[in-house]
């Protein structure tokens, strides 16, 4: 008879164990949260102390990342900040005794419970791809991350010219030398009589800054002309190579003139 109900008894026993476990598990976090908080005052005071500590970390650090050691988005965010060369502070919430309490305070501060939570210059920048100002990776894609980091003091760009390529270009094309760029690579003397007055120069710099361009209209026209000429030459070369049944490896010779043609035309279009 017992055998007949064995399966039902097993299911019932399993349910009882599960219910028991469900009853126990919710108690665990309370113990774990209450234990690590070092303040001896009431819970409200402890929360206030954590909130105060949190605000101090945020306000004292040019950039701070609240993270978890196992979170892939946190890793991406830290890698992104490393890539741009930022100096930042990391608070690993799962490795900090006050982590759970800090996470609660962060949630009330940002309206989000997820990590990473990144603050730059005291402003909530978001997580990896969302929240706050849009998230660190989003800001980086839009070119807005570096300015924020520089402004907050988390990124120092003064040493950037130490990279060899930048140094080479800096020595080839020196600012304040009285020269201007012509046809992309050549340099011409600037006629002092043709230099606009200070107001006009300021206006042009403002236009260039807002459109992120670094060559003037005359140079863009020259590059448009060079690009058109190179395109015609590239087209003629492409046709003649095909007509001559040139070997595939020989046809790779199209790449340099094609690069110049595309480069000049795109440069004229973009103003770079």
């Amino acid at each position: 008879m017992l055998g007949k109900y064995r399966n039902r008894i097993m299911v019932l026993a399993t349910l009882l164990v599960a219910a028991s476990a469900l009853h126990v598990i919710p108690r665990l976090p309370k113990t774990r949260i209450a234990g690590p908080i070092r303040c001896s005052e009431s819970a409200t005071s402890s929360n206030a102390a954590v909130a105060e500590a949190l605000m101090k970390v945020i306000s004292d650090s040019p950039c701070v990342v609240f993270s978890r050691t196992t979170c892939p988005y946190c890793l991406q965010t830290k890698e992104c900040l490393d890539r741009v060369g930022a100096t930042y502070r990391v608070v690993e919430l799962d490795a900090d005794p006050q982590g759970p309490a800090m996470r609660k305070e962060l949630a009330s501060l940002t309206g989000r419970t997820s990590v990473p939570a990144v603050f730059i210059g005291g402003i909530f920048a978001g997580g990896a791809n969302d929240g706050g100002l849009g998230g660190v990776l989003t800001l980086q894609r839009e070119g807005a991350l570096e300015p924020l980091l520089v402004e907050s003091g988390a990124l120092d760009l003064s040493g950037q010219m130490s990279d060899p390529v930048a140094q080479l270009f800096s020595s080839l094309f020196q600012g304040g030398s009285g020269k201007r760029i012509a046809w992309g690579v050549l340099q011409q003397d600037v006629d002092p009589a043709a230099v606009p007055d200070a107001d006009e120069r300021a206006r042009r710099r403002e236009v260039a800054a807002s459109s992120l361009t670094n060559i003037d209209a005359a140079e863009r026209q020259r590059r448009q002309l060079a690009g058109t000429a190179m395109s015609i030459a590239t087209g003629a070369l492409a046709v003649s190579l095909l007509a001559a049944h040139a070997a595939p490896l020989t046809r790779v010779a199209i790449a340099p003139p094609l690069f110049l043609a595309y480069g000049y035309l795109a440069s004229a279009r973009e103003g770079l």
């Binding site: 070119g143 300015p147 520089v150 030398s177 201007r180 340099q187 361009t213 595309y262 770079l272």
Partner: protein, 47 residues
């Protein structure tokens, strides 16, 4: 850019944004030319 010839960009933030844009532009140019060359070399062989 302002008519006075080559000048160093004083604003480091602007310089960084411009550098990023130029680097992206260069990378895109290399990619476009590489793909176009590859097509020019490979497609006639397939026809």
């Amino acid at each position: 850019m302002d008519g006075s010839g080559l000048q160093r960009i004083a604003d480091p933030v602007l310089a960084t944004r411009l550098r990023t844009k130029v680097n992206t532009f260069n990378a895109r140019s290399i990619g476009v030319v590489a793909i176009a060359t590859l097509l020019y070399v490979a497609v006639p062989e397939l026809l």
